[in-house]
């Protein structure tokens, strides 16, 4: 169990304590603060709110919005919207699985990349599209993925210009 997290969740709980449906609102604030909901905090919430941990996890896992693991440094979002899908997004995704060794929703062991599937990113003209951090890369082929990722992992910051 992690004990390193020292939050002032008591304040958050205090703010919502007597309001209906407070659990979701509290979890939202926690996620905004940490980027995910650490288990240690769920334990503390369980005590403070007198809500079983199982109920907290029912809520956390019901909504895709909530994350249980720390996010990676870069979020790699593969667009699987119709245009990207038809232009070969599944192949790009497969290559990302292969290179990063993770599935969607997971983060690489070194904490660098987190893989997500998104629907439309609003630039279907560039299909197939992958977003890394805040940069969008379009017109990608399977063979582009290795180089693209290596730019991030080597330098720790993007060097290539977005298309």
């Amino acid at each position: 169990m992690e004990t390193s997290v020292v939050p002032d969740i008591a304040n958050v709980v205090e703010k919502w304590k007597d309001k209906k449906g407070n659990l979701i609102m509290i979890l939202h604030e926690i996620q905004n603060q940490y980027g995910y909901v650490p288990r240690e905090i769920s334990f503390q919430l369980s005590k403070l709110l007198d809500v079983p941990l199982a109920r907290i996890y029912e809520v956390l896992t019901f909504y895709n919005y909530f994350k249980l693991k720390p996010p990676g440094k870069y979020t790699v979002s593969v667009c699987m919207g119709t245009a990207c899908y038809l232009k070969g997004a599944p192949e790009l995704l497969e290559e990302l699985h292969h290179i990063l060794g993770i599935k969607e929703g997971e983060t690489t062991k070194d904490g660098m990349f987190q893989l997500e599937i998104v629907r439309c990113l609003g630039c279907c003209g560039l299909a197939p599209v992958v977003k890394i951090g805040n940069k969008i890369y379009g017109g990608l082929k399977r063979s582009d993925i290795v180089n693209l990722l290596s730019q991030y992992s080597k330098e720790g910051a993007p060097v290539a210009q977005p298309v």
């Binding site: 199982a54 029912e58 019901f62």
Partner: protein, 581 residues
């Protein structure tokens, strides 16, 4: 009253009765899958759909109260086709490895598939690959076989207030799991097994240890002995065509000898010994004011685990006395081995229990090794024993009636009613009364402690002193009783009770998590009646009158709560974390 028509048959039922229950009045069985009589309807499976004649609107019969003037059709070709589709859809998310499944031949889904004559699968398969979890060593979770009926979650959260199981994720990804990706053994699970008792499929079932027992029986170096719990004798027959509650004690002794056990004992003897210790403990605390009141019983290992995890502030109230089968275990490897001149190391003790938590109890603390060996080698549930009988090819119904072996086999009525809620209290009061007054209680039956009411509160008089008692069964009923104690402590008021009995499973051990499937209140009542009738028919009703218990104390233990009793028959408790991860 409400008048309605089902399939053209006029019926009249009380207001609020569901269409499902009303249909039974017209001799119509609407198929169900998620519905269980113990639980509120979750209406999750959809197999019980029926339609209104006037507009063909569909309703789920399990959760729709019948209304005045309704005309309902429960079966027609369209409804049957819908039900078939529901079953096929469930199958499309099911591994269908029935032959190797823990519930093969008694699965509620399998029965529906058979009844609907499903021969082909029309839907694409989507089965989640979720690893099996045997971490508790008591129950096995195979979440991939779950049909998401929600019974186990309802049982775990609401009936038992444990909150080990929950539904995680949503939609087609929904799965039963403890909170987060942890094993059941690291969760709050108290191993009561009620989830396995209520699961309609093979998603949760008992951890099978029959092969360990077969190995023991084949080992010429071992001296295999066995004990059966009170509640097993009135339920084992259900696997062989007997009605629930039929007392099959003596046939069970015979079958255990045929399986190869050299000595056949009865946990009810251990219960008599438990009573000697526990009633003495009560008198010690009540009359001599040594120790905390109220005294709380500890025969139930799921309750002990629950208390250690959720209510450790109550540890002082707990009886230090071990449960009957643990007492049998330690006595078999000390007293019995000495009497028989057998090397205790060779004694292999098997407990046949209505319970999955007993599998956990046998290694709970160092005191479970008080004989110098593990006091109980293996625990089998009633369900596992039934399978062994079938494997051994024994014709149970035709077996002769046999007697148990001395010196751990003969018991009184007080010992055998341990299997029903209120039974431990009743047996303890019979003996406590005698210990205080040195007179037999004029009437040994304490009707007020019997029955299926969740919390039973009553009082009796011992020598003009009122003894207030409470009995709770089903773990969600415990909090009410414990909070009354906490309240009294906080306000410096007299304690509301002097003596409390708790059993984790509704109905007590007769409704235990290791008992034959399909338990309902009707079955709990029948099994309990079987035990009370057995008690009623016995010459000796009180534990202290058991001549073999007297012999045990005279020749081996000394006196209740004495030095040797404390070494062998008592244990202690400690606070445990609710989550280990």
């Amino acid at each position: 009253m409400v008048k309605a028509v089902i399939n053209g048959i006029p019926i009249e039922v009380e207001e609020g009765v569901t269409i499902l229950d009303a249909a039974r009045k017209a001799q119509i069985n609407i198929p169900t899958l998620c519905k269980h009589p113990d639980l509120t309807s979750s209406a999750s499976c959809g197999i019980c759909v029926v339609k209104l004649k006037k507009n063909n609107r569909m309703f789920r019969a399990c959760c729709t109260p019948i209304e005045e003037g309704m005309e309902i059709i429960t079966h027609d070709p369209e409804i049957i086709e819908i039900r078939r589709t529901v079953v096929e859809l469930i199958l499309s998310n099911h591994p269908n490895d029935c032959l190797k499944c823990g519930r093969n031949n008694n699965c509620e889904l399998q029965k529906l598939v058979a009844d609907f004559g499903i021969r082909e699968e029309h839907f694409d398969k989507f089965v989640r690959d979720i690893p099996k979890d045997s971490s508790t060593g008591t129950i096995v979770l195979e979440a991939s076989k779950c049909i998401k009926c929600g019974r186990c979650v309802d049982v775990c959260q609401n009936m038992q207030d444990v909150w080990a199981l929950s539904f995680l994720e949503r939609g087609i990804h929904t799965r039963i799991s403890p909170a987060g990706d942890i094993k059941l053994a690291d969760s709050p699970c108290v191993r009561c097994g009620q989830c396995s008792e209520h699961c309609p499929t093979g998603a949760i079932f008992e951890f099978d240890e029959t092969s360990k027992v077969w190995e023991g029986l084949m080992d010429p170096e071992k001296y295999c002995v066995v004990q059966i719990a009170p509640a097993v004798r009135v339920s084992i027959g259900e696997s062989f065509g007997f009605q629930p509650g039929v007392n099959l004690t003596k046939k069970t002794y015979a079958l255990l000898r045929r399986l190869g056990f050299k000595a056949v004992f009865d946990t009810s003897f251990g219960a008599d010994v438990t009573i000697m210790e526990e009633a003495s403990e009560f008198v010690e605390r009540f009359v001599h004011k040594k120790g905390t009141l109220p005294l709380i019983t500890t025969c139930c290992p799921a309750w002990v685990d629950f208390m250690e995890k959720f209510h450790p502030d109550m540890i002082d109230h707990f009886s230090s006395c071990k449960s009957p089968h643990e007492i049998m275990g330690v006595l078999s490897k000390t007293y019995f081995a000495r009497e028989k001149k057998i090397d205790p190391e060779k004694v292999f003790m098997v407990s046949i229990m209505p319970c999955t938590a007993k599998k956990y109890e046998i290694t709970r603390t160092d005191e479970m090794f008080a004989s110098g060996y593990q006091d109980i080698d293996v625990v089998l549930t009633t369900r596992e024993l039934a399978r062994m009988v079938k494997q051994a090819g024994l014709d149970f119904a035709q077996l002769p009636e046999e007697e148990p072996d001395h010196v751990l086999g003969d018991y009184t009525g007080g010992g055998v009613i341990f299997g029903a809620t209120g039974g431990v209290m009743e047996a303890a009061l019979r003996t406590a009364y005698y210990l205080v007054t040195e007179k037999q209680f004029p009437k040994v039956e304490f009707e007020n402690v019997r029955g299926l009411k969740g919390v039973k509160e009553t009082s009796i008089k011992i020598d003009d002193t009122k003894v207030n008692i409470a009995i709770a069964h089903g773990l969600s009923n415990v909090e009410y009783v414990l909070n009354k104690i906490r309240e009294a402590k906080k306000n410096n008021q007299p304690m509301p009770y002097h003596f409390i009995e708790v059993m984790a499973c509704p109905g007590g051990c007769v409704g235990g998590g290791g008992q034959p499937y399909g338990v309902t209140d009707a079955i709990r009542t029948l099994r309990s009646k079987g035990l009370y009738a057995h008690d009623d028919a016995m010459k000796l009703r009180c534990s202290h009158d058991n001549p073999f218990v007297q012999k045990l104390y005279n020749e081996f233990l000394g006196k209740p709560l004495g030095k040797r009793s404390h070494e062998l028959l008592h244990t202690d408790y400690k606070a445990r974390p609710v989550y280990r991860k």
